[in-house]
Symmetry: C2
Subunit: 154 residues, 2 copies
């Protein structure tokens, strides 16, 4: 049983701090990503594609925790910008493969400058960075046990 009055105050709400922090980081990235004609979620999409070359919409969604309602229109915009190709699978017509174009592949070179330009502004030591990353991922896991439907009962 928590002290509800205490945790209802804005200054004590961890969820608000995380939400605000997320938006501040996006704000930091925005002008730099703008030079690459990218938004932050588009950059994340390229990040997973740089690691895997070719993924279905569903597989991208599993990695970024986004659904087709978000991804489909975003991927279409990225296709218009000639960063990715959308290829309907021939073995399974339900699937759409997302592949990097040459332009999308080359963007990685410019994106390599991002960490250096951004991470120092987090104001974290290398160790704090790692610990915070670990904590966040643990929290995500915890939360997903509640927020994601349990289909793995089979």
């Amino acid at each position: 049983m928590l002290d509800a009055e205490y945790f209802l105050r804005l200054e004590n709400q961890l969820c608000f701090a995380i939400y605000a922090c997320s938006r501040e980081i996006t704000r930091l990235y925005r002008p730099i990503l703008e030079e690459l004609e990218l938004t932050y979620p588009q950059f994340l999409t390229l990040t997973v594609l740089w690691e895997h070359q070719r993924l279905t919409v569903k597989e991208i969604g599993e990695r970024l925790y986004l659904d087709s309602g978000t991804l489909t229109p975003m991927l279409k915009r990225m296709e218009t910008l000639d960063m990715v190709k959308r290829v309907r699978s021939s073995e399974d017509e339900r699937k759409v493969y997302i592949e990097l174009t040459e332009k999308g592949t080359k963007l990685r070179d410019q994106a390599l400058e991002l960490p250096d330009k951004c991470i120092p502004h987090f104001g974290l030591s290398r160790n704090d960075y790692k610990e915070l990353l670990f904590q966040m991922n643990q929290m995500i896991e915890h939360l997903q046990q509640v927020t994601r439907p349990i289909n793995e009962v089979k």
Copy 2:
């Protein structure tokens, strides 16, 4: 000089972890807030109003780091739901005061159940919660020094 290759991998990106964590928390809150007819940003708006009774749009924006482009339409929706009143100031016609209605005030009672229902799912000890909150707020401060225009030179 950071190892850019390392920090470009999705699993090593703290910004992604924070962004994903923020969305997972919102997902945890959503069904509970839905019972109060609230979205998460609307809940935050009520949170600051419960603390201050009456604030201008600008003052709400300063606390939540949101601008009028976000707040104006949201506050209008909340007015439609009879949670707040929008009152143009008579001393300074540029300002619009946001005040709680009776309904908006009473929602606090139900909102008091939120911390108990949600925070345990974070999977954090009371101490980890406090430390994480502190770290996040520190990061926000650091980031704002870069992302927010410096007007306080005067």
